[in-house]
Symmetry: C2
Subunit: 149 residues, 2 copies
Amino acid sequence: MQNKILQTLKERGYRMTKARQGIAGILSEAGAPLAAADILGPLDSRLRGDDIKKLRVNKTTVYRELEMLRAENLILEVDFGDAIKRYELADSKHHHHLICVGCTRVQDVEVDAPLAATERRLERQTSFKIERHALEFFGLCAQCRFPRR
Amino acid sequence: MQNKILQTLKERGYRMTKARQGIAGILSEAGAPLAAADILGPLDSRLRGDDIKKLRVNKTTVYRELEMLRAENLILEVDFGDAIKRYELADSKHHHHLICVGCTRVQDVEVDAPLAATERRLERQTSFKIERHALEFFGLCAQCRFPRR
DNA sequence: CATACTAACGCAACTCAGTTGCAATAGTCA
DNA sequence: TGACTATTGCAACTGAGTTGCGTTAGTATG
């Protein structure tokens, strides 16, 4: 089994369908969080390498598959504040994102020590029990700041 | 002029319409970020205090007004990760939100010193120019953690 | 390999927040 | 008291995501 997501799903009793293999493959190779539309587009071209020509996957299937993978804790929902659900692999180290407002390039960054201390302070001060946080940075990447003429 | 938003708008040449006065009033009195739907609901009852009975404001008007106020930097868009745009007054001190996942109660909190240092570090390390960040904390408030029987 | 069980799929119709085009209305200023 | 036009309301639309339901295709078993 080439892919960690697929392997885990199989262990948990899920069937190995073509749509599932395609979606898991795309998620595993993505360099940034993906939306359903990112998966709907490239899917058939990706699977063309197998002996399957022009596999079409319905958007309902993609949405259901993403929701199932999230419920199985294999992917995490990421929010860039634009009303589109994006997902990334759950097995990586906890991190945040630096998003270029010019070209939408995304870079992973680590922040945690200061946030952990802040959360403990907030819990003392507010009597909330903090479960999670959402933190994204928005700015301009080097290419967008200094475009080559 | 009772209201700071309305006063600023008047200075900038906007007309003082009934819908505008109602929307500005609601935003000014809100204790938490508001969505368009929060404004569409209470509007007519709020304005009933004037000699206007049952003023109806169309949702298009509310969305347009909110977008205008944001473009005029009088309100800020706040993102709770649920695909709904919320807004709060822009004149308050920069802060973040602690959102109860049980009852959706929202509490403002301050965080900034550690984040400012983190942003400087990230700018050095990544060559991004950071313009802004989005940070929200999600958890359970005291009432939802310890409900009275 | 045959077949039966049912997870998974595809389609169409729907929801819901938000947007757009355009004609009607109402602030504001002279 | 107009006239000018910003603002509004309506209806139709968009786009991401969801739901119901009949069909398809993995998988286990014989």
